[in-house]
């Protein structure tokens, strides 16, 4: 009798375990299905909410203790819409590259959510995560160090297929790689060459081909043209625009060159010390900036027109960017801002449409994190 009962329990327990497994498998399958489903053009494909990344600062060798944190990204939210290019600008140390690494899941976020087609990718694992990784690819800044010098171009571009064999079956890979080379404007016969046999611009094309290999939906470009010469830069920018139309890609385009960002982006976000200072369409940001930092940044860009030398107002900021390990209280820009008042030291300004512009349809009505947001054109000569 006792034995029977034991057996009964065992029988009972078994289906319970499988039930849990099937529930998990079912949610994973559902997540994969959601990830594979197409998104309408103009709908958000990526939604970032309150993203935070703190790098701990430790002291001591044997007994490490945390003495602080570099607040590289400190509460960043934005949307990326299907088929658009969102430019992210900011100076070194503002956290723009950390955002890229977080979206690629090369770093784990300290807090915050990244929704890809409604799925929070920071919480995914297994098949669903793999499916996301396939759909979000990256093009790196330095075409000299981001390609393995010991691998042929064919191996470099074909390597993603080892992890995602469903995209290109083994026998088909060589043809697929040659097709990609052709798409990025390189001779398909170069498949057996090594990276050092190519110029900087050609190497960046190889990096782009690798990014395209898995037919992703989003490409994160971290300073993709800043290492290139002016004449070659234009070739690569044009290529990226062409590919976007052809493959219906969404770009997150991170750069410090404000002119290039304006050229390629539909919308632009300006970052300062781990926070988003201002975000809007390219016209809103460049022609009607309301955040003092954006205004200073834009006014500092030299314009290739000697006639504009005298006509343009220059805002020369004093000092350097404060350390992200110890950012100023309140508004982070206040230590360099000419408008700063007591309020700025105590209240953190939220990224929102400033009150004075709410409900109006002026181009100044876009999100800006400043207590004293005011429109000012600094790009065009007076």
């Amino acid at each position: 009798m006792a034995e029977l009962r034991k057996e009964d329990e065992a029988v009972d327990a078994t289906p319970n375990v499988t039930e849990v497994e099937t529930v998990e498998a079912a949610t994973e399958t559902a997540a994969v299905a959601a990830i594979e489903a197409p998104v309408e053009r103009g709908e958000p494909i990526l939604q970032v909410r309150g993203l935070v990344k703190h790098f701990p600062l430790t002291q001591g060798i044997l007994f490490k203790k945390q003495v602080g944190a570099v607040k590289a990204v400190d509460g960043v939210s934005f949307d990326l819409y299907q088929g658009e290019t969102l430019g992210i600008v900011g100076e070194s140390g503002c956290g723009k590259s950390t955002v890229a690494k977080l979206l690629m899941m090369l770093e784990t976020a300290t807090a915050g959510e990244i929704f890809y087609k409604g799925q929070d990718i920071t919480k995914l694992s297994g098949r669903a995560l793999k499916a996301v990784r396939r759909n979000i690819q990256m093009v790196f800044q330095d075409p000299y160090t981001s390609l393995n010098p010991r691998m042929t171009v064919g191996d470099i571009i074909g390597e993603p297929f080892d992890i995602h064999p469903e995209v290109a079956p083994k026998g088909d890979r060589r043809r697929k790689v040659q097709e990609l080379l052709d798409v990025v404007g390189l001779n398909p016969e170069y498949i057996n060459r090594y990276p050092h046999q190519f110029s900087g611009g050609q190497r960046q094309r190889i990096g782009i081909a690798r990014g395209l290999a898995l037919n992703p939906e989003i490409i994160i470009c971290d300073e993709p043209v800043s290492a290139l010469d002016v004449s070659v830069q234009a070739q690569v920018v044009n290529l990226m625009e062409k590919l976007q139309d052809e493959f219906n890609l969404s770009y997150l385009f991170i750069a410090h060159d404000l002119s290039i960002v304006r050229h390629i982006s539909d919308r632009v976000g300006v970052m300062y010390l781990g926070k988003m200072a201002e975000i809007g369409t390219d016209t809103q940001i460049y022609d009607h900036p309301t955040h003092p930092y954006t205004q200073a940044l834009l006014s500092a860009v030299p314009v290739p027109d000697p006639e504009a030398r005298e006509g343009r107002e220059r805002i020369i900021l004093t000092g350097d960017v404060p350390s992200p390990a110890n950012p100023p209280s309140g508004c982070r820009f206040r230590t360099r801002c000419w408008k700063a008042q007591d309020k700025c030291a105590t209240d953190v300004p939220l990224l929102a449409i400033p009150e004075r512009f709410q409900g109006s349809d002026t181009p100044a009505a876009h999100e800006s994190a400043c207590h004293f947001a005011e429109e000012k054109d600094v790009v065009h000569a007076a």
Partner: protein, 327 residues
């Protein structure tokens, strides 16, 4: 004329053959004038400057012809110790990467003071006081406290200020700045360029600004020399060149940069790549990439044609180019 470079030739011996880096460059700078030398990587703009300063690595480099006249004296004929007396005292250079140009194990005060100890025979104590004075002048806050710090304790912009202070130390007549702001963020770049321009005005120095940035050129230069494959392809006052370039390469560069003040359409891209310096194309070196190239361009090297009193263009069809670009 403060500095005149005449028909300068420099080549490098490499494994792949002789790289002809500079092929007959001629330019001049007057006191108080800013000349921008514009070119992409490999155009020979930095090598020319190194030959002028006398800091070219020889070997592998070799100056095979030409003159560098500084206040009428040919520097290339001077002995090394005479050259050294000129360098630093009469002409100085600012480099792109301040961190690797400064000595990491010496304090900035020692490095700044060294100029006075070596060239002026000052005592260490006086040199130190001079160093503080210089740091004040380039607006480094708390100079007296920071004079004993090491380069790594300064930010990128501050380090570039120290480089500028070092170049200015002996109030030279000529400064060569090789991409002085390329490694800096845009707001810091604006600070540094403004400082450089201000000190140049104050001291009435000549400035050669080597850059690839057409925006920076438009901002500060009086005259511009555009280089391609080791040659000057166009020189002109800065206003003329932006209004109507007289060389297809200059025009291509201007059309290929995106603008800040409007969105613009597809960028014009100069086709192809800059030439390999071990095998520069015959005739005009730009002809394989040029939309105006004709048979003559493949055979005859274009001389610097006179466009106007102050303008020269090394294009057989410069008239066409000016007409097309001013239309």
């Amino acid at each position: 004329m403060l500095l005149e470079v005449r028909d300068l030739y420099v080549e490098f011996r490499t494994r792949d053959g002789v790289a002809k880096a500079v092929n007959g460059v001629t330019y001049s700078v007057d006191a108080g004038e800013t000349l921008a030398v514009l070119g992409e990587s490999g155009s020979g703009k930095s090598v020319t400057a190194q030959a002028v300063m006398g800091i070219l690595d020889t070997p592998p480099g070799r100056i095979t012809g030409g003159e560098v006249l500084f206040r009428g004296r040919d520097l290339l004929k001077l002995k090394e110790d005479a050259r050294r007396a000129v360098r630093g005292a009469e002409m100085a250079m600012i480099f792109q990467d301040a961190l690797s140009s400064l000595n990491p194990v010496l304090t900035v005060g020692d490095q700044l003071g060294e100029m006075f100890v070596v060239h002026r025979g000052m005592s260490r104590k006086d040199a130190r006081a001079k160093a503080v004075e210089l740091m004040d002048r380039v607006r480094i806050p708390a100079a007296r406290e920071r004079v004993g710090q090491y380069p790594h304790q300064f930010s990128g912009g501050m380090r570039q200020r120290i480089m500028i202070a070092m170049a200015m130390a002996l109030e030279p007549a000529l400064i060569i700045a090789d991409e002085p702001t390329t490694a800096l963020d845009v707001t810091v770049q604006a600070q540094v360029m403004e400082l450089l321009a201000e000190l140049r005005r104050e001291l009435g120095m000549g400035l050669i600004l080597i850059t690839h940035d057409l925006g920076v050129v438009a901002d500060v230069a009086d005259r511009i020399a555009v280089m391609y494959a080791g040659r000057i392809v166009e020189t002109a006052p800065v206003h003329d060149i932006y209004k109507a370039p007289a060389h297809p390469y200059t025009q291509g560069l201007l059309d290929s940069i995106p603008r800040l003040d409007h969105k613009g359409r597809e960028l014009y891209a100069i086709k192809g790549l800059p030439p390999n310096l071990t095998a520069i194309p015959p005739g005009c070196p730009f002809h394989p990439r040029c939309p105006r190239a004709r048979d003559v361009c493949r055979i005859d090297v274009p001389p610097l044609y006179r466009v106007s009193e102050e303008r020269r263009s090394a294009c057989h069809f410069w008239e066409e180019t000016v007409d097309a670009s001013s239309a």
